[in-house]
Symmetry: C2
């Protein structure tokens, strides 16, 4: 099989799951993932990079699949002691998870960049997939709400995404540089997948780096976005609520429209099959299938279908999925 | 009963136990403890102050009495994750203990001094006794050994105090200032107790601050040292081994001689009763008693005997121990 360069753009849980599926479908070393860092924040002086960690932990097979963040079977003794001190923060860090933040912060204090640190930590967790933080420069999503402008973690964790959103600001994005090799990976990718992450909170901060957006506009690879919206609802998290609050209909069609300037293909959930034509009308190929990734097998199956779909969106075939798979339940026309 | 000002000078375990005894004997608010900070070090960017923590945890009733450091019933999940990263340090920090270091480091990054932080943390753990780190300036014990010059924690924890000691350097002590109110507490104390801590590793770094040594020389209160050596052996730790390596006989007599320029009284263990006269010959009053603090009651009993002993070393009596106690097994002549 030919060497392939699959590139995923990802936020947290949904992005991590589909990246994991791609790794199973085509091999860990054929996949690169560019991860949102605009949710990064500091707690007790520790640099916390939630989406990078979710992707890294998921690919290492140690993620907490119930919560969607942190490590499986983590414990909360440290948090309990913070409570005893009367200083329990609104963000809970597990005892094992803390090791990641301590190591990262120490390495960064020593001068290493976030992408260098990520590469070292991933290697130690035996993750061969290249995980690229979108930028080593600080970018922070600020959410303008009826409770005022909130940093992402306050909006998401402290207020459980209940405030009404009026707008989003990706602070620092205009000045931030993509981390090394991000642009080259976009240029040389065979297939680019926009994971079913929140378009506004996870993918847009990546696109807010103008050189990344430009590179996607100029990419030769087919670019395929996977819907995070099924039947007008988000699979997980605030995507649908947020779209409504921003005056956009929460629908896969609007997600496709959001990405329409650079995508060639869109993966629509079979429950929304009726929306196919509206998306095709934008000049975007559509794959209709079951996009829910409940089990580990679901991830690999969806990824395999995307691999096959990508081959149908370009002149020459690159070869398919490593796994035996059922015929996709839908195929592009 | 008259207001009393008991002042203890302490290192880690032995100092913490006797300070705890004094608190039980005369009341938490009548006791102040000046604690060695020359063992402080940095791990993962966290400021770790082992002796301050041992004293604070002991007075809060949460110390791990088996290990002599850290918190009772702490867990090691964080350390396990460091092992998974292949980065397990030689110094193990418990999951709960980490909260102390994270909070301290955050407060110090915000500009608070070690003594301010210690006061805040102790208050939150409901410890009313004033715990004074000896200095807010960096002082570091360097141990010159056959393996080269080692920082204290490497000598003590990493090499389990096995290297042969040639000398000790209290780096920074000449320039360090005592932390606020240390000198005033020495001047106004009614009784000063040098706890049965390691003379070279725990008490000498405090005395290496010249203004503290001068204040002890000029103190009006009786100053009583408690032996950390029984029958030529250290109750705990490297004191006897270290004395031998420095060419000093490991004996309570030599400990008394070490402090002879400023102490008025010395508490000798009953197993060493035969050494009484050698110490009295230095012009130092001697209390012979059981100095081992195995149980919590032992701590209070020993402290009560010291309170009574102190009254015998000054012109006017200040009143005795709050607790009912047996008659001391020895008394000064």
């Amino acid at each position: 099989m030919k060497e392939m360069n699959f590139l995923a753009l990802a936020g947290g849980v949904g992005g991590a799951k589909l990246t994991d599926g791609l790794v199973r479908a085509v091999g860990a070393e054929q996949v690169t993932v560019i991860v949102n860092t605009a949710d990064d924040f500091t707690l007790y002086g520790l640099h916390i990079s939630p989406d990078v960690d979710t992707v890294m932990y998921t690919l290492a097979g140690v993620a907490n699949s119930e919560t969607g963040w942190g490590l499986a079977d983590d414990t909360w003794e440290n948090f309990g002691m913070f409570e005893r001190y009367g200083s329990a923060p609104w963000f809970r860090l597990g005892d094992r998870d803390l090791a990641t933040h301590l190591l990262r912060t120490e390495m960064m204090s020593g001068g290493a960049t976030l992408s260098e640190v990520t590469r070292r930590l991933a290697r130690r967790l035996k993750v061969p997939t290249l995980i690229l933080p979108m930028s080593n420069d600080p970018v922070h999503t600020l959410i303008d709400t009826d409770k005022g402008a909130l940093p992402f973690q306050e909006y998401f964790v402290k207020y459980h995404w209940q405030p009404i959103v009026r707008g989003l600001i990706y602070e620092g994005a205009a000045e931030a540089e993509p981390s090394p090799s991000v642009l080259r990976r976009i240029e040389t990718a065979d297939t680019i997948v926009i994971c079913p992450s929140n378009p506004y909170l996870s993918i847009d901060p990546i696109l807010a780096l103008h050189s990344i957006h430009d590179a996607l506009l100029n990419a030769t690879a087919p670019i395929i976005a996977v819907t995070p919206i099924i039947g007008g609802e988000a699979v997980k998290g605030p995507a649908a609520k947020l779209m409504k609050e921003l005056g956009v209909e929460p629908s896969a069609v609007e997600v496709a429209r959001h990405y329409a300037d650079f995508i060639n293909g869109f993966v629509l959930d079979e429950r929304d099959a009726g929306l196919r034509q509206a998306i095709e009308a934008m000049g975007v190929g559509v794959l209709v299938t079951d996009t829910l990734m409940t089990s580990s097998d679901d991830r690999a199956r969806l990824a395999c279908e995307i691999v096959t779909f990508a081959d149908q969106l370009r002149p020459e075939k690159l070869g398919g999925c490593l796994l035996d798979q059922p015929k996709p339940s839908g195929s592009p026309q």
